[in-house]
Amino acid sequence: MSGLRAFFAGFVDRNGLPVAIYLGLAVTIWVFLLVALPQLAMLDFSFRHNLPPSKMGGPEDVYTLEQYRYFFLGSEIGGGDWNALDIGVLFKTLLAAVAVTLIDLAICYPVAYLLAHSARGAAGRLMVLALIVPFWVNEILRAFAFRILFGATGVINEAGMAMGLWSAPIDFVGEDVALYAGLSYAYILLMIFPLYNAIESLDRNQIEAARDMGASRIQVHWKVVIPYAKPGIASGSTMVFMLTAGALAAPQILGGPSNLWFTQIVYQWFNDGGNWPRGSAYAIVLLAVCIGFVMLMMRVFRVSIGAIGR
C-alpha cells in the first residue's frame, strides 16, 4: 500500500499536479469507463434472460446459462443436438479469417520487403503514400468496388466472357470468391505496414553478409529476414485475423445469400431478433474464441503481445 502511495507521489512529483491529474484521469476514463466496464456489462448481460424493460430487476431477472446453451445446443425444441448452424458459422468464419490472413501475408511479404530494401527516397515515400490512399476509402466503398468487379455483369465476368473463358456469368458472390477477395483487399495495409517496419530496420549488411557466405535467396529470407521480421509478421497477422473475424460490412455486402459471417448472427440477434442477452453471449463467444486462437498462435510461434502494434 505504501509502495502504491510512493508510486503516486513519485508520479505527481515527476509530472506536476495538473499533468498528473490529466494523465491519471484520461487513462482511468479510458480503461474503466470505455473499455473494462462495457465489456463487463456485456458479460453480465450475456448471463441473463431476455426480458422486457418492465421485468428487469424483477424476480425473473436471474442469472442463467440459457444464452450460451442456445449457442451450443440450439433451441429447446431441438433438444440435445448441437446447434450445428451457429457453431458451423463460427468455424467457417475462423477458417476464412485464417485463410484471408495467410493470403495477405503471402501477398504483402514481397511488397514489404521490396519497399523496405529496394525503394528509397522519394520513390519509396511515394509508394508508401500510394499504399495509404486506398485505405482512406472506407470499408463499405471498398466492398462495393468488389461487388462491381465480381457481379454477374461485373468487369471480371464481362472480360472473361469476352475472352471466351466461360460462357455464362459465374456467380462469384454466391461462391464467396468476392467476399474473400474483398476481405483480403480490405486489410492488406494492416499487414504491409508492420511487415515493412520490421523489415526496414533490418541492417542491409546482414542480408549481404548472408549472401556473401553462400546462402541462396530463399535461404536468406528463411534464415535471416523472416526470423528478424517475426514480430512484424505476428503483429500484422493478428490485426488482419482479428479484423477479418470481426468484419461486418464486407460480409453484409459481399456475402452470398446463403452464407453468414458470425458477426452477422450477432447483428441479427441484436437488431432483428431484439435479443440483446443472446447477442451479448454470441459476442462473448466470438471474442473468447478469437483471443484464445490468437494467444495459442502467439504461444506456438513464441511472440509476445508487446510485438502487436509496432
Binding site: N15, G16, P18, V19, Y22, L23, A26, W30, L34, V35, P38, Q39, A41, F45, P52, P53, S75, V111, L114, M127, L129, A130, I132, V133, P134, V137, N138, E139, I140, R142, F144, I148, G151, T153, G154, V155, V173, G174, Y185, M242, G246, A249, Q252, I253, P257, T263, I265, Y267, Q268, F270, G273, G274, W276, G279, A283, L286, L287, I305, I308, G309
Partner: protein
C-alpha cells in the same frame, strides 16, 4: 545493382500489386460517370455527371455526413488526449508494469468492432436504466454512444502514433528544463508538448479518418441516428447505384489532393533541412510550394465541377433510350415472327433487363423469417420484409422498445 531479369521480376510484382490495389477503385470510379442505372463499365452508355448531382440531393446521406463530422470532431477531441496520456504513462513506468499496461491499452484494437459497439451500447443503456434516465438523455443518444464506442479503440491508434514519437524524445530535455527552474508543468508545456506537436497533428488526422470510416462499431452505437457509413451501407445493400461510385470518386479525389499537398510539404521540409531549397529560383519555389499546389488542385476540381455542371448528357441518354427501345422492338418483332412461323419457343432477352437492383442480395434475405426466433437466413430470395429496410434501419434499436423483444420498431423513427 544488376539489371535484367533479377530486377524485372520485383518491378513486375510491384506493378501487379499496385494494379490490384488501385484497379477496383479505378473501375468503381469509372462507373460513376456512366449513365447506366447499374454501376458498370460496359456497356458504356453516356458520359454523365448526373450521379454527383443525385448525391447533392440525397438528404439522408448529407445528414449522415453531418453526423459523421460531429462524431469525428468529438472523437478527435477525446481520443487524442487519451492516447497521449496513455503513451506518456507508458513511457514513465517500469518495464514490467509497462508490459502489462501495454497489453491493456492495445486490447481495444484487437477486440472486434462489433463487440465494442455492443458493449458500449449495453453499458450505457444499463447505466441509464440504473439511474432512471430518460430516453432523450445522453445514455441513449446515438451521437454520444458512437463517440464513446469509437474513442475506445481510436484512442489506442493514437497512442501508437504517440509511442513512436515519444521513443525519440530525449528525457534529459525534461530534466534540463527542470534543472533550469521550470516546474514539471512548465517542462511539459514548453518542452514535451512542442516536441509531440507533429504527432498530435497526425494522430488527430488518423483519428478523424478512422472515425469517418468506421462501420462495425457505429452500426450498433448509432441507434436512431445515422452516419456517413451507415447510410452508405444501407444504400449499398438496398441496391447498387452509381451514385455510390460517385461518393468514392469524391473521397479518392480528396485523398489524392491531400496526399499530393502532403508530399510537396514533405519535400519542401527535407530540402529546407538539407539547405537545398532553391532560394535563387523564385519561380521554382513558388511552384513547389504546398499552398500553390493546393490552389492548383482546387482550381482543377473547380474546373471539373464546372464542366460537370454544364455537361448535358440528356441528348446521349435519349439516344441510348431510343436504342434500347429499338432493340426491344426488334426483339418483340422477332418473337412475333417466330410465333407466327414456328411453335412458340422461350427466348432469353439479354442485357438491359437483368440489372434489377438488389435481387438476391436485398436486405430481406438476411432478415429472420417473420418473428421466428432463429436467425437462420431464408435461402431463397424471400419476399421483402414488412417495413422497407427494416432489418438495417437502426430504428430497430430505438429506445422506445429497446428491451421489448417483440416491439422492435417504434413508429415514427422507421421512415428515416
Amino acid at each position: 545493382m544488376t539489371k535484367g531479369p533479377a530486377l524485372l521480376l520485383p518491378v513486375l510484382y510491384l506493378a501487379l500489386f499496385f494494379a490490384y490495389l488501385f484497379g477496383p477503385l479505378a473501375i468503381m470510379a469509372i462507373t460513376a460517370f456512366n449513365s447506366a442505372g447499374f454501376p458498370r463499365v460496359s456497356p458504356w452508355e453516356c458520359l454523365t455527371f448526373g450521379w454527383f448531382g443525385k448525391l447533392a440531393q440525397d438528404t439522408r446521406l448529407l445528414e449522415g455526413i453531418g453526423n459523421s463530422l460531429i462524431i469525428g470532431v468529438g472523437v478527435v477531441l477525446i481520443a487524442v488526449p487519451i492516447g497521449l496520456a496513455a503513451a506518456l504513462t507508458l513511457s514513465q513506468v517500469g518495464p514490467r508494469l509497462r508490459a502489462s499496461l501495454y497489453t491493456v491499452f492495445i486490447a481495444p484494437i484487437l477486440v472486434p468492432g462489433v463487440v465494442i459497439g455492443l458493449s458500449t451500447l449495453i453499458f450505457w443503456d444499463r447505466l441509464g436504466a440504473m439511474i432512471g434516465a430518460d430516453y432523450d438523455t445522453l445514455f441513449y443518444d446515438g451521437i454520444f454512444l458512437t463517440i464513446a464506442g469509437q474513442v475506445t479503440f481510436i484512442a489506442a491508434y493514437s497512442m501508437l502514433v504517440f509511442l513512436s514519437r515519444i521513443s525519440r524524445f530525449d528525457p534529459t530535455l525534461t530534466e534540463a528544463a527542470l534543472d533550469m527552474g521550470a516546474t514539471p508543468t512548465q517542462a511539459f508545456v514548453k518542452v514535451l508538448l512542442p516536441f509531440m506537436a507533429p504527432a498530435i497533428a497526425s494522430a488527430a488526422v488518423l483519428a478523424f479518418l478512422a472515425s469517418m470510416e468506421n462501420y462495425n462499431t457505429t452500426v450498433f452505437t448509432v441507434v436512431a441516428e445515422s452516419t456517413f457509413t451507415t447510410v452508405l451501407a444501407s444504400k449499398v445493400r438496398y441496391g447498387l447505384d452509381p451514385s455510390i461510385s460517385a461518393v468514392a470518386v469524391i473521397i479518392v479525389a480528396f485523398t489524392l489532393i491531400a496526399a499530393t499537398v502532403f508530399e510537396m510539404g514533405k519535400r519542401r521540409q527535407t530540402r529546407a533541412a538539407s539547405g537545398l531549397l532553391a532560394l535563387d529560383r523564385p519561380v521554382l519555389r513558388l511552384i513547389a510550394h504546398p499552398l500553390f499546389v493546393a490552389g492548383l488542385m482546387a482550381a482543377l476540381v473547380g474546373g471539373v465541377v464546372w464542366t460537370g455542371a454544364n455537361h448535358d448528357s440528356s441528348v446521349c441518354e435519349m439516344q441510348v433510350l431510343d436504342d434500347k427501345r429499338a432493340v426491344q422492338e426488334r426483339l418483340e418483332q422477332e418473337r412475333r415472327e417466330r410465333i407466327e412461323a414456328l411453335t412458340p419457343a422461350p427466348s432469353a432477352p439479354s442485357a438491359p433487363t437483368q440489372s434489377a437492383p438488389g435481387g438476391a442480395f436485398a436486405p430481406g434475405s438476411l432478415a429472420p423469417g417473420g418473428s421466428a426466433p432463429s436467425p437462420a437466413p431464408s435461402p431463397a430470395p424471400a419476399p421483402a420484409p414488412s417495413a422497407p429496410g427494416g432489418a438495417f434501419v437502426p430504428g430497430a434499436l430505438a429506445p422506445g422498445g429497446a428491451f421489448a423483444p417483440g416491439g422492435l420498431a417504434p413508429s415514427g423513427s422507421v421512415d428515416n
